[in-house]
Amino acid sequence: MTANEPLGPYRVIAAADPAGPVPAAGQFFMLSAGERWGGGEGGRPFLPRAFSMLRREGDELRFMLEDVGPGTNRLATLEPGDGLLVVGPLGAGFTPGDTRRALLVGGGVGVPPLCCLQDELLAHRVETTALVGFRSATHAAAATLLRDPRVATDDGSIGHHGLVTELLERELDGAGGSERTVFACGPPAMLEAVRRLCVERALPAQLALESGMACGFGACFGCVVSLRAGGYVRLCVDGPVLDAHVLAEVPAH
């Protein structure tokens, strides 16, 4: 752990990773504290926790996290110099591919993989529009990680008063709306709404999902999601980014 700074109600933490391979946007890492992992609520955390890469700067990997339970709490309270176990990069990230204009849609801790992706797209001179939703203006501090974001908040304290998917719908209804590729990451309900919108409109869409993970590298078969065609895929090796059109639905947890 080389840094741990607040960003609104979130923390941005950094880890030295001089030897690691360069991760792609949408890939993730499994993190755990080097010491005293455990002993929190219910005796947890025990397993490592998954976090999308926010950015790689020099030899440093950055992550943004929200303290929602024993694992994120422990990571959020580590200090620079404390040991951090980092496994990754893992999984299949976004595949920017074509030249259609990219619509990035995110919310809350779904922002990090979009930051990465926006960096990549901008480097390839692909135009992006970023729409991001938060609970409130304080949470919206995380929007500053993106270039030119349009913000929605649940309480209307900043930006659009409502859901980010309303911004998305408006954007898709507007000029060139049918010429977009959607890249989304956020809470399950938001992703499910995005999935429906894009399936209805037959728009290409890539969703970065979450699921409980024990290992992150395909060992446990614990992180599966259902496919529309039947059967399951492991989110940690076949995802976390999946084509919206192959999914049965975005699972609630």
């Binding site: 947890r44 025990f46 490592p48 395909g218 992180c223 599966v224 999601v225 090796v237």
Partner: protein, 295 residues
Amino acid sequence: MPDFCGLELAHPIVNGSGTFDAIAARRAFGDELDAAFPFSAFVSKTITLAPREGNPPPRLWEAAGGLLNSIGLPNKGLEGYLAEDLPELARLPVPLITNVMGSTVEEVAALVEALGEREEVAAIELNVSCPNVRTGLDLGADAAELGRVLRAVRPLTATPLIVKLTPNTADVASVAAAAEEAGADAVSLINTLRGMAMQPGRAGRPWLGARTGGLSGPAVRHVALAQVAAVASRVAVPVVGMGGVTSGRDALELLHAGATLVAVGTESFRDPAAGRRISGELSELAANRPFVSEV
């Protein structure tokens, strides 16, 4: 160099079935993985005759000092395994042990026969933690039932047969003795302890898609030590000990309790190189601290 059923292994640390997917790990970590493979033999996930999707999610629940899982043995079935996985696994730098499960004698026989023919398969591990159609109990909870099945399948192959016992029984040593008598070349234990978790905030609703699951990790380590010691003092065949091992010291304790090999399961999830680390710690312990041996 432990000798296990005629296999010369580089060190005593193998993986627990279903806790390491060598093919997926190769995809995630590249070919260096094979160069420094964490285990001295690779044990496959359980293979069944027909393909299985596994249980509906959620499949994982984190426990105090452990993990509750209800994966439900997803696998490609025997044919898929032979066609797709076996060639990949045969490339590993270590011997391959294939773990199988069947819910009738006929199923087990078909699996054992087909795998026994493949020289890529160094040993077959038979997972008997599956409900038995005749008794309703797990096959491995009942010494007589298990003996019956083993006597039927044992003659079908010359490949070493390891029986992976279930810990969810009153007297695991008797079951192990019955397995030995019926021709098992080795036994392995413990598999996961039956457990259940509740959905936070929803009265009486189980969290796991399959309602119950199996507990593993440090929470079960002392149960494993007791069962391994009881079994090792009862049978003459080698014992693969596992359950909650996170360090060379834990592994050594299982060896001292009578195990010939030690398997590492859940610990690989946090540290994919745990097998290598633990075998290193083990040789250090052996080198630096001559243990007082007295039983």
